[in-house]
Symmetry: C2
Subunit: 237 residues, 2 copies
């Protein structure tokens, strides 16, 4: 059941493989747009730029439309081409990664809305948002690179990073809650940051899911509920 | 020797239909388990019952395993049977609803963990959790009934209910945040309730998604990014 990268790219010449390559590159194009949207939302917070926050929110429609198109293409290719083995796994993995990417877009749109709100209220962001934001953006980029290159080792690194992000997230949350207890005037502004961190943490989860789909594609094994140690074994065996 | 094409294809389709019915009933069984898990988590909060909270958390493994099994069955049926038209839509809709149901299980597990924490800390739940919890449970039940009966009108009602839940959620959130500003000693306990309400609101979204997948199955139209008005038109035309 293993995915043979060499033989897969060898018969790229056939029309069917061209179609598969097309939906894969459509997914990558959507990934690029989502990455840009996330970069805009985080830059809006860091540099207090309302226009960037607005641009990030406006991307949502385009990303939703791309999700529907890729989903339809996946179903059409299954109906017309009746793919088997690794071709079918590629279509299934693209279809699942498509949904996770769209969710990253949703969470990013939420962050951009909070950015707009905070700019309007004159509330500053904080270093945890910057730090975790950078970390999570890297996870999204790496999950897409892993998918593009069938790189299961990089996919495993994404899963490993998620544990670090979760720790950073819990630490930041505790600090924000403690601050609210000591300084009730900070409640409203900290809640904005809490929701942004929550969205960032969710984006990290979706980057992990995208990596899981790539591992399924290459190894034929569903690792979506596996431990980090099991993922490592699956990838390196 | 005459080849009876009609009876042959009848035989094949009968067997195939039995396979399709089987994965659909596996999905419904998983739905039943998720409904029970949610009922347990909410009852744990309402009647301060730690055993129910524990049971809800323990269901998670079983639900995750069911998700993997149904996912594998969907892929196997596509590879072996090469379904077309409405059969393919059924497999796709089951596969997507499967993922949403598993997410409902995840959010419910999170609620059960907060229930355990609140019971340990002697913190009471509140009426909003009870009220929104009942509302969201009804949405999950109706989305599964809609799926079981191919009832698009009921699926539309679920989408409509989500707007009411969102309003109730926003109202409850505002009250909890205001209370934290006025009474800093309530910060820690209100944060528990805020996370529970957030999970309930997400469960409502997943119930909506399951309804969307059913509408796609019956009508062949992807309504996942449609307005409520567009969904109504799609269902009633």
């Amino acid at each position: 059941m293993k995915f043979d990268k060499a033989s897969h790219s060898e018969h790229i010449s056939t029309h069917f493989d061209a179609e598969l390559e097309q939906i894969k590159s459509n997914l990558m194009a959507m990934g690029g747009l989502v990455e840009q949207q996330l970069a805009d939302a985080l830059a809006a917070l860091a540099s207090r730029d309302a226009l960037l926050a607005e641009r990030a929110q406006k991307s949502d429609n385009k990303i939703n439309q791309m999700e529907i198109t890729i989903d339809e293409e996946c179903i059409r290719i299954i109906a017309r081409r009746q793919p088997a083995a690794s071709d079918l796994r590629l279509v299934v993995a693209i279809s699942k990664a498509n949904r996770d990417l769209e969710r990253v877009g949703d969470e990013t749109c939420r962050i951009a809305r909070y950015a707009t709100k905070m700019l309007r209220e004159g509330v500053p962001s904080n270093t945890e948002v910057r730090h975790i934001g950078r970390h999570v953006s890297e996870m999204v980029r790496n999950s897409l690179t892993a998918f593009a290159r069938y790189d299961t080792e990089l996919a495993y690194q994404v899963a490993r990073e998620d544990f670090n992000v979760d720790e950073e997230y819990k630490f930041a949350m505790r600090a924000l809650v403690t601050d609210m207890m000591e300084e009730p005037r900070h409640v409203a502004r900290n809640m904005n940051i809490i929701w942004i961190l929550r969205s960032l943490e969710r984006i990290g989860d979706h980057a992990c899911n995208i990596s899981d789909h790539l591992i399924y594609l290459v190894k034929g094994i569903n690792v979506s509920h596996s431990s980090l140690e099991q993922i490592k074994e699956t990838v390196r065996e």
